[in-house]
């Protein structure tokens, strides 16, 4: 029997206007965890969708074991034992967790009646093995993005697939959940004999898990390496095509007076007694486990949901923030967590997306000025290094990282004092990540106050001046960057909840 379980040769996939994959080849060995890396827009997700039959390539062949296969659709791939966790969560918000897990491959009684008992049993087991303790009857829509991601993983597990593909599964996860995921993935390889393709922009994931790595760049295959025989810098060079000095270009800044202060801010059921201040020139990190309430705090600051009690003091005056407009007029900007749902109008061009928050800037209050709009957009387009066909390309045609850059660009058109960034580099490639970090650092040195929510430990440690750790709706610790270590942060984020569980 051959050592290669899956092979793709000379795959080309064309979207109207884009060549997403150009003559790409790939090999997956039996029982290995194979990392697939590349910049945003390199074609990784498209490649995955070719393997799972969602897209049909214009050219190329696919071999499973030794036999050539042609997939007519996702159904075929499922039949051959290929399962995938897609980059953008593909869940059914109206259905419950068990239904989400089993849709498409339901368990049935002899006569065709659905076997709910069995499905709930297996779902609960799967969730437990993933270290999750919500019930499988919970409605999917009430879960957080990260929790949904975990359900997606359970779904792939439930298919008992021989080949499992994970497209940036850790993007929304914190360290702790990532660890669970590593454990499960290794278990799959060792106990079930599955072969796994793992896409991630995080080097820690890759070094921790994979044994081999394939790199794509600009829709093309660059090469593949044994992981222990290639250095991080060489990999980055392969991916980006040039050297990237450091991922965390944090410049030292003079930290000034406080701009935004919270006093005892409380929103019943979500967070309580939150007090902290963000200062001029400072990058303040807000971290914690998924569901700790960080997003909710930021949204209250931005006027999405009003807090029930407590004070918000902006530039010395107490303010009430009715809605995002008041927040923006004050000078508070927010980069939301879910770029597709909250950040972008997917059908629109990059230009119109960028100018949306600040239409007044290129209009005389009422009338639009197309020329001026295009200029501003072009300007931003270049500033944040968006990779796209043109400034008018639709947002939906961009890769994840480039979409994120558009959302960042939206913030920069407005005249702000405080910038809140919620998971700004989630699912963003090294190059873009560097670019976004650079922008953050620049903003801070220009005197902006930056509040960054992040679940990625190295990022928090690399970029922030101060770190606040939240746990279950409350601040559990505040530390200066000089005193901060991974261990301290993790302890502040978890200890109490570990105690609770006993």
């Amino acid at each position: 029997m051959s050592d290669i379980i899956l092979e793709l040769k000379n795959i080309t996939k064309i979207f109207p206007g884009t060549k997403a994959l150009d003559n790409v080849s790939f090999q997956l060995k039996r029982g290995e965890i194979h990392a697939l890396m590349g910049e945003n827009g390199a074609g990784k997700s498209t490649f995955i969708k070719v393997i799972t039959g969602v897209h049909r390539p214009e050219q190329g062949e696919m071999f499973l074991g030794c036999s050539k296969v042609t997939l007519q659709g996702p159904k075929d791939a499922q039949k051959y034992g290929i399962a995938a966790i897609y980059q953008h969560v593909t869940c059914y918000p109206d259905l419950n967790v068990a239904e989400n897990i089993f849709i498409g491959h339901e368990i049935r009684h002899k006569l065709g009646r659905l076997n709910w008992k069995e499905m709930y049993r297996i779902s609960d087991e799967l969730l437990q093995s993933l270290g999750i303790n919500f019930n499988s009857r919970t409605q999917m829509g009430t879960l957080s993005v990260a929790q949904q991601q975990i359900v997606e993983i359970a779904k792939a597990l439930s298919m008992k697939a021989k080949i499992i593909i994970m497209d940036e599964p850790t993007a929304a996860l914190t360290k702790r959940e990532s660890e669970e995921l590593y454990r499960v993935t290794e278990q799959l390889r060792d106990n079930e004999g599955a072969s796994i393709i793992f896409i991630s922009h995080r080097f820690e994931d890759m070094y921790r898990l994979a044994s081999r790595v394939t790199v794509f760049r600009d829709s093309q295959y660059i090469g593949n390496w044994e992981l222990d025989k290639v250095s991080k810098d060489d990999l980055i060079k392969a991916m980006v095509g040039r050297e990237v000095s450091s991922l965390y270009p944090k410049a030292k800044t003079d930290i000034g007076e406080s701009v935004l202060e919270l006093e005892n801010l409380t929103r019943t059921g979500y967070f309580s007694g939150i007090s902290f201040s963000v200062r001029k020139g400072e990058i303040l990190g807000l971290t914690g486990l998924v569901g700790a309430g960080r997003t909710e705090v930021c949204e209250s600051l931005f006027g999405i949901h009003k807090a029930d009690s407590g004070k918000i003091i902006f530039a010395g005056n107490e303010v009430t923030i009715e809605n995002p407009r008041t927040a923006m007029d004050l000078g508070i900007g927010y980069l939301p967590e879910d770029r597709q749902l909250q950040g972008l109008i997917l059908d629109w061009g990059i230009d119109k997306n960028i100018t949306l928050p600040n239409l007044d800037q290129f209009s005389n209050g009422v009338w639009l000025n197309d020329q001026k709009e295009l200029e501003i957009a072009e300007d931003m387009f270049k500033k944040v290094l968006i990779k796209a066909q043109s400034v008018q390309a639709t947002a939906s045609s961009l890769s994840g990282g480039n979409q994120q850059k558009v959302v960042v660009a939206k913030l920069l058109t407005t005249d702000l004092k405080v910038i809140i960034l919620d998971e700004p580099t989630k699912g963003v490639d090294v190059g873009a990540k560097y670019a976004i970090h650079k922008i953050m650092s620049d903003l801070a040195s220009r005197g902006y106050a930056v509040l960054m929510v992040s679940s990625e430990m190295p990022e928090v440690l690399g970029m922030c001046d101060r770190i606040i750790v939240m746990k279950e709706g409350k601040i559990s610790d505040t530390m200066d960057i000089a005193d901060a270590t991974q261990e301290k942060i993790l302890e502040a984020a978890m200890v109490k909840s570990v105690k609770d569980r006993q």
Binding site: G17, E58, P324
Partner: protein, 328 residues
């Protein structure tokens, strides 16, 4: 640039489809009836279908924002009845007109208020309820009576000309221009499109979504009031069952005008073309005495096929595009 790389794709645009359709209808009508192209007849045809078309404009905006307003016809009825009752009770006509417009605007405002204060409810269920409610109130007011006794000058609205152009046409053109400018040339229009595309992202982008929705529903009420004025003037009397079933006609015109019912897309000029396509088609078939039920069938088929063709065309176009790229 993806845009306009292909000349054919430009022709596939909805508004050109409608223009072609309009020309085709005119040729057909003119060849079938010797009376069709006479100026007077054409003008009275236009007068016959323009009254309800005032509501098409705000409806387009509302549908673009991802909502719908099913209560517009009932709003026409209630405001018209209010005006009629006022006149019958000796209120001067000018004041009665104001009452009509105020009632209609209020009806729209109430819709908007409920829809924005209770976001959990879809606009459809809210306006289905107010559709029943508003007409119900009209019945309570007038019962089985008709209200008439409007002064003679009031009939100018529905029947009068300025020069040789019907007054209603002039008013309609004025409103069309206003709505066109709002949607296509102002920041408010851009925001309306954004809300329709992605409500959540619009909120995060600092757009006051509630204000815009409230505005749109209120505008729908106001325009229903304008319809009520013209319609009542045309009939010189009013009853609670006036304008029954207009809501579907209005919605049909909006969707034929290429406005996506899932929101975020639409053009006022296409919608106006659609009004004329349906109106003139109906009129043309009318003066060659085609049975009105067959006209109904033809309108139905028109609705289906005029949307089917571009959807097929689009698919063919993107196939062609991929083939061309392969050869590059």
């Amino acid at each position: 640039m993806i845009k306009n790389t292909n000349k054919l794709s430009f022709l596939l645009k909805w508004e050109w489809m409608l223009v072609a359709l309009l020309i085709l209808i005119n040729i057909m009508n003119a060849s079938l009836s010797p009376y069709y192209l006479e100026y007077n007849n054409m003008m009275s045809a236009i007068m016959a279908f323009l009254d309800r078309s005032f509501m098409v404009l705000p409806m387009a905006i509302i549908i673009i924002m991802g909502d719908i307003d099913i209560s517009v016809a009932s709003t026409v009825a209630l405001s018209s009845v209010m005006m009629g009752v006022s006149v019958q009770n000796g209120v001067p006509m000018t004041v009665a007109i104001l009452i009509c417009m105020a009632t209609a605007t209020l009806c729209g405002f109430i819709n908007g208020l409920i829809v924005t204060k209770f976001k959990e409810l879809s606009a459809a269920i809210v306006t289905i309820s107010t559709m029943i409610l508003y007409r119900g109130i009209a019945y309570i007011i007038l019962e089985d009576q008709a209200a008439s006794g409007f002064p003679l000058w009031f009939s100018i609205l529905g029947w009068g000309d300025i020069g040789t152009i019907p007054l209603i046409l002039i008013v309609f053109i004025a409103f069309s221009v206003i709505f066109w400018l709002i949607l296509h040339k102002t920041t408010a229009g851009r925001q309306i499109l954004a809300i329709g595309q992605n409500n959540t992202a619009s909120i995060y982008s600092g757009i006051n979504v509630d204000k815009m929705r409230l505005f749109a529903f209120t505008a729908a009420g106001f325009m229903a009031g304008i319809t009520a004025l013209f319609l009542t003037s045309k009939m010189a009397s009013t009853r609670p069952n006036i304008a029954i079933g207009y809501e579907l006609e209005v919605i049909a015109m909006v969707v034929l005008g290429g406005v996506s019912t899932s929101g975020g897309k639409g053009k006022i000029h296409s919608v106006i073309l659609a009004i004329f396509v349906i109106g003139l088609l109906k009129y043309g078939l009318g003066i060659i005495n085609i049975h009105s039920q067959i006209v109904t069938i033809i309108i139905g088929l028109l609705l289906i096929f005029s949307t089917l063709l571009p959807s097929i065309g689009q698919r063919v176009m993107s196939k062609l595009k991929i083939i061309r790229q392969m050869n590059l």
